[in-house]
């Protein structure tokens, strides 16, 4: 299926793949390399965080909401949604408990005001 040129290309690709695989594997298992990479990324991210903080201050000086403010509002919305769903569940539980009360108890409860009424009438 492959011509001589294609065979050579295939051989070259296999060699390249093996060599790169070996090197990359050495790299990703090298503790020193990973440690240095982590430190470098952490330093970059700390810089980015400081820049974001500066931007927040600038936004506040202009009396404009910053991303931090928006995230705070979003967190409040998440909390409100959580409480609403929680309340809905409690209400469901309550109505279910009411619905599943023994029929006799419910009947007695319903009958009570009527009986009371009757007795009042009787008194009259």
């Amino acid at each position: 299926m492959f011509t001589m040129g294609e065979d050579m290309m295939k051989q070259w690709a296999t060699n390249w793949e093996k060599m790169m695989g070996d090197q990359l594997e050495k790299l990703v298992t090298n503790e020193k390399f990973i440690s240095e990479m982590s430190k470098s990324i952490a330093a970059t991210m700390t810089g980015k965080a400081m820049y974001s903080k500066m931007l927040d201050e600038q936004m506040a000086a202009m009396n404009l909401p910053s991303r931090t403010d928006i995230v705070k509002i979003m967190q409040k919305l998440t909390d409100i949604e959580e409480r609403l769903v929680d309340l809905a569940e409690k209400f469901e539980d309550y109505t279910e408990a009411q619905g599943s009360r023994p029929a006799a108890a419910t009947a007695n409860q319903n009958a009570a005001p009527a009986a009371e009424g009757k007795s009042k009438k009787h008194k009259k």
Partner: protein, 355 residues
């Protein structure tokens, strides 16, 4: 003549596939063309970013419903990749009523939601909904990868455990010390997750942590396009290759608290294994799991090695003879899709969930 034509056409299609893969420019049309996610899903509950879906159309079942907890890192459609490569399809064919959680895309407002919240509030709520919908008292809880760890955490809590009749873990880690490259990376000096995520508010973007994922298995990454070319003419190969590539590039953001906990609490402190992680203020211990457990582990897993899952053998269920533990000769994902071994996996799962 026909073969010549085929050979001439093949590289063009191959080039297009490689180009889509390299540029990650997949669209909904690609997913439809491949027939991804063949199982119909109906949303039965929604909150924040997550949705509880009920699978299939026929919900009659003699068994407790199955609730699947997918990983927080990737999309849940790895369970329903393509026809013939779908765990959901198999579970439905076994007569099970299946529910699957879609964690969706968390937003910055969910930044304070960590594993405790995911498990004790959201997963509990999902199970409550399933119980209400099906009228059953208990569910069969299943989880894959980090989702499996979440399911195991749920089953470890004395109160929450009352909701479940069995636990099915798919490549789920418990002991994260020396569990592979990820644990080595997080354990190196200078790996400070607070500093690494200092610039992010609320969520840690997928592109931040997914950049490192190909490095977990560099050889496989380097050979992926060669393997595609070599197997291009095998029926079905290019479809499954592309479906897996779409899934692999469709990543999800993490809430900042969950990401920090995953690294600090679970990887660096190994808190679940040590029984130091608290849910609803109570410390949980996987050794307390006493419901029947099926744990399927991938022998060639590049994310968590077999040791990470082996700890489940110390739980009460194992001592009571209620643990089925199998090491399957496959990878982290190929256990349930793409690899012929998936047929064995499906049979093991079906046998366990329909007991």
């Amino acid at each position: 003549m026909a073969k010549d034509k085929e050979l001439n056409e093949m590289p063009e299609e191959y080039r297009e596939m490689v180009s889509r893969s390299v540029l990650k420019c997949y669209t909904e049309a690609d997913r439809r063309r491949l027939g991804m996610e063949p199982t119909r899903k109906t949303a039965v509950f929604r909150q924040a970013s997550w949705t509880l879906n009920r699978c299939g159309e026929d919900f009659k079942s003699d068994y407790d419903p199955v609730v699947i907890v997918p990983s927080l890192i990737n999309r849940n459609y790895i369970m329903d990749l393509l026809p013939g490569h779908s765990l959901l399809e198999q579970l439905k064919a076994s007569g099970l009523d299946v529910f699957i959680i879609d964690w969706g895309e968390p937003d910055a407002g969910m930044g304070q939601c960590g594993f405790d919240h995911y498990i004790s509030v959201w997963l509990k709520r999902a199970i409550r909904q399933v119980k209400k919908i099906t009228g059953r008292d208990k569910v069969q809880l299943a989880g894959q990868c980090i989702g499996g760890m979440m399911a195991a955490l749920y089953a470890s809590h004395s109160e929450l455990r009352k909701d479940i009749s069995s636990l099915f873990l798919l490549t789920a880690p418990i002991d994260l010390a020396d569990s592979g490259l990820l644990s080595n990376w997080t354990g190196t000096e200078g790996f400070d997750v607070e500093k690494l995520t200092a610039a992010y508010q609320g969520i840690v973007p997928a592109k931040f942590f997914h950049a490192s994922f190909p490095l977990l298995d560099p050889r496989s990454q380097l050979s992926k396009y060669r393997r595609l070319l070599e197997n291009f003419e095998i029926p079905g190969f290019k479809e499954i290759w592309e479906a897996l590539d779409i899934w692999g590039s469709d990543n999800v953001d993490f809430t900042k608290k969950a990401f920090t906990e995953l690294i600090q609490t679970f990887y660096q402190d190994n808190a679940f294994f040590k029984g130091e992680f608290s849910i609803k203020g109570t410390k949980v211990d996987y050794k307390d799991i006493d419901v029947p457990v099926l744990s399927l582990v991938a022998r060639d897993d590049h994310v968590f090695n077999e040791k990470a899952a082996r700890a489940i053998q110390d739980c009460k269920a194992a001592k009571l003879g209620k643990l089925d533990y199998h090491v399957v000769p496959a990878g982290h994902v190929s256990l349930i899709a793409a690899h012929p071994v998936r047929i064995t996996t499906y049979a093991l799962i079906k046998e366990f969930l329909t007991r």
